[in-house]
C-alpha cells in the first residue's frame, strides 16, 4: 500500500465545510441505539468547540428508511425533506447538518434531482405548501455530522485526554473505519476523500493517533439493506454481509472499528453477537468481539468523556478491553446503572462472545 497515492486522492476530494451556525437534524437510528453519541456530538460542538448548533423539536424523520423500504413514495420523502429545509430557513439558517447517513445521502440526492429536474422541485414546493403552508428554502451547505468532527479533528486532538494508542505497547491502535454507503458512493465529490478512499474517518484516526487498516472488503456495505434487515425473513442477507467484512478484516487483528453511519455500528456490533451465538466464531482477542464505535463515541473517549455517559453500555460487544488499551478510566460498577445512579438489573451475558 502506497500512502502517498491515497493522499493524492484525498487532496482531490476536499469539501467546503463552514465552521459555524448549523441547523442540526437527528437520526432515528442514532437516537434509538446510540443516544449518547448525539448528546456527545452536540456537547462537543457547542461546549468544547463553542459553535452554534440549532435544533428544533418540530423536525422529524426524513423518511429515508421508510423510503428505502418502499413504504413511502419518492414524492412523500421529498416533501418531508422539503419541510425540514423549510424549518431551517424559518429559523434563519443556511447550513444544514444531519446525524444520519441515509438522510445525508437523500438530501444530497434530492438537491441534485431538483437541480436536474426543476419541474420536480416545483411540484414538491407545491406539495409542501398545500400540506404544510411552508416555503422551501434550500440549504447553502450540507454536511454530515462526521464532516464537522472531521473538520475539527485537530482541535479535538489538541484537547485530547486519550489517544488511539495502545498504552501497554505504545503502538497505535489498529482501527478499521467503516463509511456508510450513502455517504459518498452516490456522489463521491460530496464526501470527504471521495468514494473509494473516504478520508472523513481516516482523517480522525490519523489525527487522534491510530493506524488505519485497509482490508479487502473495506468498501463494503454492512448489510443493513433496509428491508433486508427490517423484515425478519431477510436478515440472513444482512448478517452475511457483516460476516463477509469480518472474515476479511480478521487477519489484520483490528482493535476497534469506527463508523459514521447510524445503522452500521449497530449491525456490526449485533451481528458479531449473532455469529458468535450461531457459529461460535468471535473476531476479537480472547473470545471478545471487535468493539464498534460511532465517531462521536470515539471523539468523546478521546476528549475524556465517561464511557458510560457516552452510552457504551448499550453495545453488545464489550468495550472494556479497548478502554483498557486506551487507558480510559471507568468504573465497572457504573456500567449498568440508571439515571441518578439507580441500580438496575444487570443484563444476561451471551454464551459464546465474552462480555463484561
Amino acid at each position: 500500500m502506497i500512502f502517498q497515492g491515497k493522499q493524492k486522492i484525498w487532496s482531490d476530494y476536499q469539501k467546503e465545510i463552514p465552521d459555524d451556525h448549523w441547523f442540526y437534524v437527528r437520526s432515528c437510528i442514532r437516537q434509538g441505539f446510540f443516544p449518547g453519541s448525539e448528546v456527545a456530538f452536540l456537547d462537543i460542538c457547542r461546549n468544547k468547540l463553542g459553535k452554534d448548533f440549532f435544533e428544533t423539536e418540530h423536525h422529524t424523520t426524513c423518511g429515508g428508511i421508510a423510503y428505502h423500504a418502499e413504504a413511502l413514495p419518492q414524492e412523500t420523502m421529498m416533501t418531508i425533506i422539503a419541510r425540514q429545509f423549510a424549518l431551517m430557513g424559518e429559523h434563519g439558517y443556511k447550513n444544514y447538518v444531519c446525524s444520519c447517513i441515509t438522510s445525508f445521502g437523500l438530501y444530497t440526492e434530492v438537491l441534485e434531482d431538483w437541480r436536474t429536474f426543476p419541474d420536480l422541485e416545483d411540484k414538491i414546493r407545491e406539495h409542501l405548501w398545500k400540506s404544510c403552508r411552508r416555503e422551501l428554502t434550500k440549504p447553502e451547505y450540507l454536511a454530515h455530522a462526521s464532516d464537522i468532527i472531521y473538520k475539527f479533528r485537530n482541535e479535538i486532538a489538541a484537547k485530547a485526554k486519550h489517544r488511539l494508542v495502545n498504552k501497554f505497547t505504545g503502538e497505535p491502535l489498529r482501527v478499521v473505519e467503516h463509511i456508510g454507503c450513502h455517504y459518498s458512493k452516490m456522489f463521491p465529490s460530496k464526501g470527504v476523500g471521495g468514494a473509494e478512499y473516504p478520508y472523513v474517518l481516516a482523517g480522525m484516526i490519523d489525527s487522534w493517533g491510530g493506524e488505519v487498516i485497509d482490508y479487502p472488503e473495506r468498501r463494503h456495505c454492512c448489510g443493513f439493506g433496509f428491508r433486508q434487515y427490517l423484515v425478519k425473513a431477510n436478515r440472513g442477507y444482512s448478517m452475511s454481509n457483516t460476516h463477509k467484512k469480518f472474515e476479511s478484516m480478521e487477519p489484520y487483528k483490528p482493535d476497534m472499528i469506527i463508523t459514521n453511519c447510524p445503522g452500521c455500528p449497530y449491525f456490526m456490533d449485533r451481528w458479531q453477537y449473532v455469529i458468535a451465538e450461531q457459529t461460535g466464531k468471535t473476531y476479537g482477542e480472547n473470545g471478545y468481539g471487535i468493539p464498534v464505535f460511532t465517531y462521536e463515541e470515539v471523539a468523546g473517549l478521546v476528549l475524556g468523556y465517561d464511557p458510560w455517559d457516552l452510552g457504551l453500555q448499550m453495545h453488545q460487544v464489550a468495550v472494556e478491553p479497548l478502554l483498557d488499551k486506551m487507558g480510559v478510566k471507568y468504573n465497572k460498577k457504573d456500567k449498568y446503572k440508571g439515571s441518578g445512579g439507580k441500580i438496575l438489573k444487570i443484563p444476561e451475558f451471551p454464551m459464546n462472545i465474552k462480555c463484561c
Binding site: K232, A233, N234, R235, G236, Y237, M239, S240, H243, K244, V274, I275, E277, Q278, T279, G280, M351
Partner: protein, 108 residues
C-alpha cells in the same frame, strides 16, 4: 446455539483461488480446444436438447474453467450428442468429443 430465525447465507462469488483446476487441466491435455471457446453461444443457440432443458455448452465450458463444475455438469446429461454444436462452432471445436471427454474426466 440460539435460533434467531435466520442464518448465514453462502456466498455465490466464484472463488477461483480456491478452485481445484486439476481436472480442467487434465481435460485441456486431452482436448486442447477446450480453451479455444470464445463464448459466442452458437452451440447453445443451436442445441437440440437445449430447447427442452437448460443444457448450455458455453456455460458448461465456462463453469469448468471457473471451477464450478457441480453447477454445470448435470446439464450435460440431457445432451443427445447430435453434433449440431460442432457444426456451428466458429472455432471448429469438436464439441461432441469434448462433451464425452468432459464426462469421462469429471466422471458425471
Amino acid at each position: 446455539m440460539i435460533d434467531f430465525g435466520y442464518s448465514l447465507t453462502p456466498s455465490s462469488t466464484i472463488e477461483i483461488d480456491d478452485a481445484d483446476m486439476s481436472l480442467f487441466d487434465e481435460l485441456c491435455a486431452v482436448e486442447p480446444d477446450a480453451i479455444k471457446c470464445m463464448s459466442c453461444g452458437s452451440c447453445a443457440a443451436s442445441c437440440t436438447a437445449g430447447v427442452f432443458t437448460d443444457l448450455n455448452l458455453r456455460k458448461v465450458l465456462l463453469g469448468l474453467q471457473r471451477g464450478c463444475e457441480e453447477d454445470v455438469l448435470p446439464q450435460l446429461k440431457s445432451c443427445m450428442l447430435c453434433g449440431k454444436c460442432h457444426i456451428v462452432c466458429p472455432r471448429g471445436i469438436n464439441t461432441r468429443h469434448l462433451i464425452l471427454s468432459i464426462c469421462k474426466i469429471y466422471n458425471i
